[in-house]
């Protein structure tokens, strides 16, 4: 293996691994074996993977090595990744973190999986997540919580908590995630990694188990913006099988990473720096913004006056869409079925009652109520009107600035169990991320420092389809800082 010891391969970014594979420094099989060995060593305590697909990973790795020898390898050929267990994977259990799908073997691949397979990426396994992506701490998973790699007392965030923890612990250099109200950005922030939620419609939702269809969006999670650029380039693109997929060319995200930031106009929304933001987190975020000023950016105070309405509107729209989407789990065609149903109604009600956990049930009930006769105008219609006001706030802001910056989360990772019994407090941890989903804009979180040993994320929000700009702005910061290179001591 030349100068590389097996123990060192996990330290590399995707960009570095890609270069090493291209130069023949190591094979994909060697790399895959090294990461599978780390997963075997660390996953029993970390619980970041629900399913490890060692055998098929090695087969994919060998196929990638052969493809490289033949010629025709791309930047991701032979690079190991993990998929959030919300993406359907043909022949592999796709649980969505739920008892409902504990024995569900997906009969097809999601478009995102298909695209990454075609690029030659190697799937190491499926990562843990809040049940049906409903949660901000990974604690609603049927498969149990995931400790934060930086501090085992803390949560990793959610819902893509397993993906974030696996990347932070160097069990995989990259992973897929999904983001309905912050589920890529918040765990990325809490685990000290980089993650981007693209513009709604940029990445196909086909085969991605639906939670709230007008908000759900898949995206990459990795250590650096450069790695996210490589992954997003492979994941994005038009898909005729997703009726909300946008038919628009995918730019070469890696090509624009190095553009200088001189003259960049950065908007700082006053609502994101006020009451509720932890003082120590605010100081970390402000020093990151100062770094951007040194890079040539100009900061402008802006206002997003309808921000306080984002969480109330979200907790109508998301549950309403969830109650409709999750109606498909009926105990008839796939998923959990209760024993000895008395009649059809009993079959439906008990299969669902046994298959879903408490948070999923709460959201189904809220959504069912909001859509029930007599309440539609007061709840759903009102929330959709507020959504327009929130979106208009952003439109006005982007007439003035190129990107918006602020904290990803109001605090660092909270303790396991701290908010598990109080849904409302848990919901408030997504206060800075949810409006971005309501507007359908792209958002990125990158590591900006620490409070104690727990990481802080800086959120960048861009105009529609400005993923290239967000990745560029994040990358330039990562050229002059090393927060993204820090590894948790237990997993170095």
């Amino acid at each position: 293996m030349n100068s590389h010891s097996a123990a060192a391969l996990h330290e590399h970014t995707i960009a570095r691994l890609s270069a090493g594979l291209a130069a023949g420094e190591f094979s994909s099989e060697e790399l895959t074996r090294a990461l599978l060995a780390r997963i075997e060593q660390f996953n029993p305590a970390l619980n970041a993977f629900i399913t490890v697909t060692a055998e098929s990973a090695l087969a994919q790795a060998r196929a990638a090595d052969q493809r490289r020898q033949r010629g025709g390898a791309g930047p991701l050929t032979g690079v190991p990744i993990a998929h959030k267990d919300i993406f359907c994977t043909d022949g592999v259990r796709t649980s969505c973190g739920s008892r409902m799908l504990d024995r569900f073997i997906a009969p097809y691949d999601a478009t995102v999986v298909e695209k990454l397979n075609a690029a030659g990426a190697v799937m190491l396994g499926k990562t843990n997540m809040d049940e049906f992506a409903m949660g901000s701490s990974n604690e609603t998973s049927f498969y149990g919580p995931v400790p934060n790699p930086w501090d085992p007392e803390a949560v990793p965030g959610g819902s893509s908590g397993g993906s974030a923890a696996a990347v932070a612990a160097r069990l995989t250099p990259g992973a897929t995630g999904t983001d309905t109200g912050g589920s890529i950005r918040q765990p990325a922030a809490l685990c000290g990694i980089t993650g981007i939620k693209p513009t709604y419609g940029r990445v196909s939702r086909w085969g991605m188990i639906a939670y709230a269809s007008s908000l759900d969006q898949g995206g990459p999670m990795a250590r650096t913006a450069e790695d996210c650029a490589l992954l997003l380039g492979a994941m994005a693109g038009f898909d005729p099988r997703d009726s909300t997929s946008v038919d628009r060319p995918v730019p070469d995200y890696a090509a624009t990473l190095d553009q200088p930031l001189k003259g960049l106009k950065v908007g700082l929304p006053e609502e994101y720096f006020g009451e509720g933001l932890d003082g120590a987190v605010a100081r970390v975020v402000e020093s990151a913004i100062a770094e951007y000023r040194r890079l040539g950016a100009e900061t402008v105070e802006i206002s997003l006056p309808n921000s306080p309405l984002a969480i109330p509107a979200y907790y109508v729209i998301a549950p309403a869409e969830c109650s409709s989407n999750l109606a498909r789990f009926d105990g008839v065609r796939y998923g959990h079925r209760c024993e000895n149903p008395k009649n059809l109604l009993d079959l439906y009600a008990r299969s669902r009652g046994e298959g879903f956990g408490a948070e999923v049930k709460r959201r189904i009930l809220v959504g069912t109520f909001a859509l029930s006769a007599g309440y539609y105008d007061a709840y759903y219609l009102k929330a959709q009107q507020i959504r327009r006001l929130i979106s208009d706030d952003f439109r006005r802001a982007f007439q003035q600035v190129d990107v918006i910056m602020g904290p990803t989360s109001p605090t660092v990772a909270f303790n396991l169990g701290e908010k598990a019994d109080d849904p409302i407090t848990m919901y408030l941890s997504d206060i800075y991320t949810i409006a971005v989903n309501l507007a359908g804009l792209p958002g990125l979180s990158l590591p900006a420092g620490f409070v104690g040993q727990r990481p802080v994320g800086l959120q960048l929000i861009g105009d529609y389809f400005a993923e290239d700009r967000l990745l560029n702005v994040a990358h330039r910061y990562q050229q002059v800082t090393d927060w993204h290179q820090r590894a948790p001591a237990a997993f170095a």
């Binding site: 309405l309 059809l344 009652g353 189904i364 959709q384």
Partner: protein, 95 residues
Amino acid sequence: MSLGPAEVAKIAHLARLAILDEDAPAYARNLSAILELVDQMNAVDTTGVAPMAHPLDMAQRLRPDEVSESNQRAHFQAIAPQTEAGLYLVPKVIE
């Protein structure tokens, strides 16, 4: 807006979701708290604001009405809880 255990039972029935009687008060408390949070929406007057159903205000794309999928019944039914002769089995619906 506040809900009691009886209203929770009614909503749970609409959602075809079995909730244990002993859990109903806790759901009623949680749901009432969520609706209280949601009621903050009333702080703003939205008269005349067009509701936003799609983030990009796009209409659904149409496609020609052509067969695009092949029949994979056996493949899809392999993961069903109970089937017979290509049909999904459920408890008797009509006596």
